[in-house]
Assembly symmetry: C2
Homo-oligomer: 192 residues x 2
């Protein structure tokens, strides 16, 4: 873009990573509403924090009350919601943090956009694979009930598709795995 | 907003601050183009980093190439540019970082908006007070020349106003103070 000149700053991402003792990363949870993304994100953050890692959770609902408060739920706005969160994740990973996102992010092209923005090396897609029927039983936000009664258009899994990840970096099956088991698996992959 | 439910996460801003050994803060530099914001931001970041602080610079031009790439330079877009950067600063301060922003941010109401979004306790407005004539002599980006020849509308200080801060937390006079002196003054106020 014309008239933009990027100033060179001395402290680099590598410097920050050295200070933190670990790489900046984006752990991108995707899955249906009620699949367990936020629960896993929270448990993973606790486990990382206990090991002295510098973390932050970008929760979809939280960001919609701040940065993305101007966005609705149209297709365009949902894409913009993902784009901004991916950009912020990228900035935070540059800051040396392990960023954990918890968003339905139902479309492959948007998750791919997020991976491209962040960079492949720093991006870890975690598919929280929980059957729709189980998510509906949990229904922690009462959204499935609303959607089934026709009060909620564009509900992922009901009136809007969820595109299953084809090559996720990690899959968590909450039907068979406990939260602790899921976290142990994630830790092994993330901090080796 | 309806249908948004904020999940409770266990690791708090206070936990992250404890891990980092310092408070999360936003150091908001404001001043004309060429006033020395980016130079001071860079020198301040180096000084903080050398003292083991966890920092990040949000540079206006850099963010316009990523998160805010959809925004132009109309009044509405400039306000939205500031709002998003303030929201991201707030998230990063929550993550325990000392965030340093380097934006002209010419309007009082926008700087006030940023302070409100971040919270008064975590926000430090630094006015880089450099006379327009000196900024024009420096003209690091060639923008004043363009503006004087009528090629650049909405150039702050020329064809668009800069509203001088009425109660900035800190003022740096680059006409009289060296970068090192400015940084020493800032350090005293920021990390006591």
């Amino acid at each position: 873009m014309k008239n933009l000149h990027t100033h060179t700053f001395n402290i680099s991402c590598q410097d920050r990573e050295r200070l933190n003792g670990h790489q900046g990363l984006v752990i991108w949870f995707t899955g249906l509403s009620g699949s367990g993304k936020s629960t896993l994100a929270n448990a993973l953050e606790i486990a990382l924090f206990e090991r002295g890692k510098h973390t932050f959770i970008l929760d979809g609902d939280h960001v919609r009350q701040g940065l993305n408060r101007d966005l609705g739920f149209s297709e365009t706005d949902r894409t913009e919601n993902i784009r901004r969160i991916a950009e912020v994740s990228c900035l935070m990973a540059d800051a040396g943090l392990i960023v954990i996102t918890a968003l339905i992010s139902p479309f492959r092209r948007e998750r791919e956009m997020a991976r491209q923005l962040v960079s492949n090396e720093r991006f870890c897609e975690v598919y929280v694979d929980t059957p729709l029927a189980l998510c509906e039983t949990r229904d922690p936000k009462g959204l499935y009930k609303k959607a089934r009664s026709g009060q909620l258009p564009n509900m992922t899994g009901i009136s809007s598709p969820y595109e299953i990840p084809e090559n996720p970096d990690i899959v968590v099956h909450t039907e068979y795995q406990s939260v602790e088991e899921g976290v142990q698996m994630l830790l092994k992959r993330i901090i080796q």
